[in-house]
Each structure stands twice: as C-alpha cells, then as structure tokens.
Amino acid sequence: MKSLPAFAAWSLLAALPAPRATALEASASTANVKVRLVPEVLSIEAGKPFSVALHMRMAPLWHTYWKNPGDSGMPTRIVWTLPDGFKASELRWPIPMRAADGGLALYGYEHEATFLTEITPGADLPKGRFTLAAKVTWLECKDICIPGKADLDVTLKSAPGMGRAALDPASKALFAAARAAMPRASEAVKASHSVEGGRLILTVAGPPSLGSPLEFFPDTAGLIEAAEPQTVARAGTTWTVSMKRAANAPAPMSLGGVLVTRSGSRRLAFEISAAPGPQKKPATSQAK
C-alpha cells in the first residue's frame, strides 16, 4: 500500500465530483446537506493538537449559516463529546457570504463550507482507541428552512510517532482548502470603531492587501442592518467602513468580526477586533 495504489486511488478520486470518503471519516445526509467529519491525523499523541474538519455540502441554492446568521437563521453548531482529558477549541468558521433574502440579508454558505476544530488530547494518553463524537446541528434554507442534525464520530488510535504522514491526498486537499478559506488573524490590522448617529464606523489601518471591495461582517447579530449597503472610504492606508446601525442596537464595547476583500478572483478576509476609538468630529468643525 505505498505509491502505486495511493496514486491509483488519487486519480480515481480526482475524477469523481465529490471527494470519496476516507476510511476514518464519518458522514450523514439530510435532503439538502451532506456533512462529513474528517480528522487530519490517522493517529494521535499525548498533548499534541490536531484538527478535525466538518465539511458541509449544500444542494444547489440551499444555504447554511455563519456564526452571526444575519437577519434570520441559525448558526451551525458542534457539541463535542470527548474522552477524558481531551479539549476542543472553538469552531473556526470560513469566510462567510452575504445574500439577500426578501429585503433582509443572511450571512452564510452556499455550495460547500469546511469548519475546523482543534482537538488536544490529554498530556497523559494511554495506548488505545479514542472516539471523538460530534453532535452537529444546523439550519438549511432555500426559501424555506429545515433544521438539520447529525451525530458523527471518528475513532483514532494513540500511537506515538505515527503523526500525519499517512494522511490520504483527498483529506490533505480538504484541509488545505479549508485553511485557505479562513479569515486571517493579522497583527498588522489595527482597528477601532465609533458610533456616529445612526452609523457604526469601523476604521482599519493596514494591511496593504486590503482593497476594494471591502465589507465588514460583525460576529454579533443585531448591531447593523445587514441588508443595507456599507459605505467604504480610504485615506492612504486607512479604510473606514460605515454601516447603518440596527434600530435599538447597543453601542458595542468591542466590535469583532471579519473584514472581507477580494484579491483577483479570491476572497480574502481579516479577523477584526476593534476597540472603541475617539468619536469623530464632523469634518467641517475640524477644518476651522
């Protein structure tokens, strides 16, 4: 089971419309969504974190939701049941998209999306098999919404030194694509926010790869009118994004979310954590 069968398997996989299941993964389907739980490693070691992907494939025109679903909907959620001593990170969400929904707007995913969780086994890990169980719930919508759920589990062996070497190409490609679709955490991004009347203003300095178009997705629901266009302005390397505040919205203390731009045909996003900045004076009063 070295290079030849692996290559044969890969060419077969490449010819298929959807990635073939690996031996270790678990999957389930509803009428419109197929979910797969795929570990990045074939075996685990004490204290060494590894990733597990939740891949969701939506039927054409169906969508699922981001952690802030926008005006309606429900975020996808994973509740883990792990062996003693194991820890799961918070779910990492790929860059969301905004779509109109009858004068409302939703934040979510069409076609497919891969979510990542980092699992860390305990520092003291005996030899044996360990089952990671994920209870996944989501809302699938296309004009109408249907709740979806699946219980998925994968079992991994503890075997020091095995590492991730034996990961199959399809899984490798899945994780590479998942990481490429994640917002980036960049220390070069300096952000602050302010409230000016009915507008919430996000001010971002750098990085150079910020460009037009630019759109902010707040990670908390109810702060802005998601369906309203955002106004973007640039002064040197500083960008401001002005958003219509939702009626009755509180002025946020810290404003978190992702700032999405485009580089060629690729969508690119930065994680934003904006502290309250100085309230801007109207430009006219500053000039005099």
Partner: protein
Amino acid sequence: MKAQTLVRAAALLALSLPAVGTGADPVIGSPAPAFTLPDTAGRTHSLADYKGKWVVLEWVNYDCPFVGKHYNSGSMPALQKEYTGKGVVWLAVNSSAPGKQGNFTSDVIQSRSSRYGAAHSAYLLDPAGTVGRAYGAKTTPHMYVISPAGALVYAGGIDDRPTTDVADIQGAKNHVRAALDEAMAGKPVTTPVATPYGCSVKY
C-alpha cells in the same frame, strides 16, 4: 466563483425589494407605528383601537420550524392565553407574501390556529408586508410589546435560546413574559431589546 453566485443574487434581489429596516424602525420608548390590518375573519384592527391596553405583536408563519417549536410545544399558545387573560391584546401578524411560505387562506389559518390551541386576540394579514417593514420585523417569531400609551417597550426574540429544539424551551428566559411582567407592574423593562431569531419573514 461560487461567491459570485450569492453576490449576484444579492445584487438582483436588492434591486427588486426594499431593505427591511431602511426606514425609521421603531425605537424603544417611541410611538409604535400605527397600522390597520384585516384579521382572518375579515374584521379590521387598528393599533389605535387598543389605546389604553397592553399590546403584543407576534410575527408568525406556521410552517417555520422556529414557530413550530413554540406552537408544537404549546408554549406560545400558553403565553397568549395567560396574558390575554390579564387583559393584554395579542395580535399575531403574518407578513408572508402571496406564494411564499406561511401565506395561507384564512380557513387554513383558522383551522391550524385551533389545532394548536392558539389564544391570540386576532390573527392579522399583512401580505404586502407593509406593517412588517414599518416595524422592521425580520424573523418569525419576532415580538413587540406596546404600552397602553402606544410606546414600544420591547422588540426582539421570544426567548434567549435561538434554536428549533423544543427541549430548549425549558430553562429559556422568555423575553416577552419578562417585559410584560415588568412593564405591567410599572417597572422599567430590564431587557427592552433582544436579538430576534427564526426564519426570515417571507416578504
């Protein structure tokens, strides 16, 4: 590539439909927007008719699973019964457009309401979505509480568990109950705004 499909769809839809919340959505403490709508029995109801009473507006779509959670469990009918029993006027409002989910004939609405044991004061029909947009109603359910003076005292979700799971009703904080109890006792409402959750209103 795939992103473009959604973006394009968004652009097309944005042209054809006004954004909900474009106008001046009602602000807590301000007058709730006036309206006149027919109910399923053909009677018309104006908000002005209920001056002097506490009014609850409940955006509803019986085929939405979030609404189903609160009707199949009996929790919404029980809340309606309890507070209409205390003199509150409870108006269910349906803003589903013709041909969209939840837009039923009055006969179907009445038979489903009675099957659920619904105890609203009236079930109002807003197929043009005018009243829904005036209130900035985004989800089903989306709840509003209006004071006897006509001021908005609560806007938001039915409770703090944004799921479709009936098991989550137990232990949830019902924001409408809390707002009504406080406001009717003459106290300030601790949580006058909460994020609404549910299906989108089918404008």
